[in-house]
Symmetry: C2
Subunit: 364 residues, 2 copies
C-alpha cells in the first residue's frame, strides 16, 4: 500500500461532468496522488474546482500534449460507463500516452492489459498497464466467518447507484480518524481501489464468489482498524445492479448500515419506457427493507442517513437534512458538503447501542 | 440443440448419493442421452434405481475400465461441489477416459478445457473437452426489456439450495406440454444445461452482468414457448448464494414464482458454529419476502408451492402437502414424486388471474 506518488493526467474526454466522470472526481477529491490536468476537449479551459469547490484546482485541457511538459507519469481513465467498455475514440489518446512514457491506469471491464496493441506499445515504451477491476484469483464461496471481536463493520447502502456511497464511507472514515478511533476503508469498486490502493471491484467477481470475496475483504478491513467503513454498490431496488448490492450486504454482514440518498432524484436512471418506471422509494420503506433482507443472514440496522444534497441550495439542503432526521428518527447530514464529524458522532452512539454489539441479544 | 446422442459414463467417485451427486442424478433422470454406468468404487454393485426408483436402471461400477466394453462415448463429471473444483484424485480417471477416446463433459468452476494436461491428451486422442459452466462472451447489463406479450415467465425459488428447483421446473415444463400449451425450460446451472442443451450457469457470470444475462435468457426462452419455466438457484436467505438468487429474480422479472421447500430440513447446510445458525424460514414469511423483493423491480407473486418430500414416507408426504396448501392458501404438490400435472393446473389458474397478466393493474 505504500509506493512513490504518481503525477496523474485524467482522461475524461467528452464526459467531465458529475455522474459520468465519478471516477475522475473521486480520484481528484480523495486520491493520494497529485492530478496535473483533466483531458476533455469539450470543456477545455474549465477547472475541477467548478465541480468540487475551491480546494480542487485542476485545469481541464483539450489534449494530452498540452500537459506533457508538466511531466505526468500516468494516464488514469476517469469514467466508468455502463458495461465498462472503452470508448473507441479513446484508443488513440491511450496509445499516445503510452508512447510518451506514461503508465495507464484503468477501471474498465475491458482490460487494457489484455489488449494486444496496448500491451505491445507498453512493452516497447517500458510502462505499466494497470487494471484496477481485475478480480483476484481466489475462487471461494462464503464460509460463515465471524467478525473480529471489537470491530464495527459499517456498509453504505443507497436509494440509487452513483449517488455517493463511496464518498460517504471515505468521509466517515476521515471523521472516525479525527475522533481518535482506529478505522479503515474497504474499497469495493475501481475508484475506491485507485484511491485506497487495495480492494476488489466486486461487480467484476464471478457471482458465485461475491459473498466469499466480501467476507475475505471484511477480514482484511478488520485487520486494519476497528471501525471498518465499506463502500457500497448499486441499490437493492436497481433493476441491473441489485444482486451486487445484496452480495455486499450478505457477504460483509455489516453490524450497521448508513443509507445514502439524494433528495430531488425521483427515478433510477435506467430505462425510460412508458410501461416501466423505477421510482426512488421512500426512505422509511428502504430502511425497513434493508434491515429485513440483511437480517435473513445476520442482524443489521440502518443507523444513519447520509444525504447527497448536490441538487439543492445550501438552505434547502439544511432543511432536507432536518426533515429526513425527523422522518427517520436517525442522525442525518451531508458529510460531503458539511463534513462527516456530526454524522459519525450520531451513528457511533447508535452502533454502540446495538444488541449485537453490546451482547444483550444473547439474553433476548 | 440437436446432435447425435452420446453414450455416457458418469463419474461420481465416492459421491454417488443424493445431495453431492445432484448433477449425476439430474442427468440420469432428465437427460436425453443413455447412461451406461456410474463410477463410484465405494458403491460398486449399487444401482441408480436405488435412489431414483425403478425406471432408472443404471449400474454403479468400480472403475472406468469395467464399462469400456459397452462403447461409451463420453465421461460426464457428475458432481458440483462447493466452489466447483476438481477433486485431485479424479484427474487420473479423466486422463484414462481421454486416452480411451471419450469426450469429457464438465460443469465444474475449474475448466477442464483450460487444463494443459487434459488439453494435450484430448488433442492426441481427438476427443472434446466441454465445460458447461463457461460463461458467454456477452458483457451486458440489464436494459429493462419487457416480456413478449402472451408469455408467462415462471421462476422456481427455494427455501434452501439443492432441494430441487431444477427438477420442479422440468416437471412443470413436462406438465405444461402434456396440457397442450407451448412451453420451454431455461437452464441456469450446469446440470440443466447438460439436460437441455443450452442455457447459462449464472453463478459463473461476472456479477455486473448477472441480471443482463438473465434478461437475455428470458428472451431466448420466450422465443421457444409461451410458458417459460426458469430453473432457480440458491435461496434469498442463503449466506453464500443469495445474491445469485436475487439476480435471477430481478433479471428474469418472472410473472410468478413457485416456491420449492423440503419439509423436515431445519437448517441451511452451511456452517455449524455455536454463534451462527441459519434456520429454514417459515413458508408464509418466505412468500412475503420473495414478493416484496421481486416487487422492487417488477410485480410478481408466489403462485404455488412445490414440496420435496424425500425425507418423508408417502403418507407423511401427502399430509405435508395438504398442510402446506392450507397454511399458504396455494396449490401444493411434490411434482417429482407424484407428477406435475395437478400442480401445473393449479398454478396456471393463479397465473392467469394475476393483474399483470390480465392487464387489470393498469386500471388500479
Amino acid at each position: 500500500m505504500s509506493r512513490s506518488p504518481r503525477r496523474l493526467v485524467i482522461l475524461a474526454e467528452g464526459e467531465f461532468r458529475p455522474h459520468a466522470a465519478k471516477t475522475a472526481l473521486g480520484v481528484i477529491r480523495y486520491g493520494p496522488d497529485p492530478v496535473l490536468a483533466v483531458i476533455d476537449s469539450t470543456r477545455a479551459g474549465g477547472n475541477a474546482s467548478d465541480l468540487l469547490g475551491p480546494g480542487f484546482d485542476v485545469p481541464v485541457v483539450g489534449s494530452l500534449e498540452e500537459v506533457l511538459g508538466r511531466r505526468p507519469t500516468a494516464l488514469l481513465i476517469g469514467i466508468a460507463p455502463t458495461g465498462g467498455r472503452l470508448p473507441p475514440s479513446w484508443r488513440s489518446i491511450i496509445l499516445r500516452a503510452i508512447h510518451a512514457g506514461l503508465d495507464v491506469l484503468s477501471g474498465l471491464h475491458t482490460f487494457i492489459s489484455d489488449d494486444p496493441e496496448f500491451v505491445a506499445a507498453a512493452g516497447a515504451a517500458g510502462v505499466e498497464l494497470i487494471d484496477y477491476r481485475k478480480p483476484p484469483e481466489r475462487m471461494e464461496t462464503s464460509v460463515g466467518r465471524l467478525h473480529r471481536p471489537g470491530s464495527r463493520v459499517i456498509l453504505t447502502v443507497g436509494s440509487d447507484c452513483a449517488i455517493g456511497k463511496m464518498s460517504v464511507a471515505l468521509e466517515l472514515r476521515g471523521a472516525a480518524a479525527r475522533a481518535g478511533v482506529s478505522t479503515s476503508f474497504v474499497a469495493t469498486g475501481q475508484t475506491g481501489i485507485m484511491i485506497e490502493g487495495w480492494g476488489v471491484a466486486i461487480d467484476r467477481v464471478v457471482s458465485d464468489f461475491v459473498q466469499g470475496t466480501c467476507e475475505w475483504l471484511s477480514e482484511e478491513g478488520e485487520a486494519l482498524g476497528d471501525w471498518v467503513f465499506v463502500e457500497g454498490q448499486g441499490s437493492l431496488d436497481h433493476p441491473a445492479y441489485s444482486s451486487v448490492t445484496l452480495g455486499l450486504i450478505h457477504g460483509f454482514t455489516p453490524h450497521a448500515m448508513v443509507l445514502v440518498h439524494k433528495p430531488g432524484l425521483l427515478e433510477h436512471d435506467f430505462v425510460h419506457l412508458p410501461e416501466r418506471s423505477f421510482p426512488i422509494l421512500p426512505l422509511p420503506r428502504m430502511i425497513r427493507i434493508h434491515e429485513e433482507i440483511a437480517g435473513l443472514v445476520a442482524p443489521s440496522r440502518v443507523v444513519a442517513v447520509a444525504l447527497n444534497t448536490s441538487l439543492l441550495r445550501e438552505d434547502e439542503a439544511r432543511r432536507a437534512i432536518e426533515r429526513t432526521a425527523d422522518e427517520t428518527g436517525l442522525p442525518c447530514d451531508d458529510p460531503f458538503r458539511f463534513g462527516g464529524d456530526r454524522l459519525f458522532a450520531g451513528l457511533r452512539d447508535n452502533v454502540e447501542a446495538l444488541p449485537w454489539i453490546t451482547g444483550s441479544e444473547a439474553a433476548a
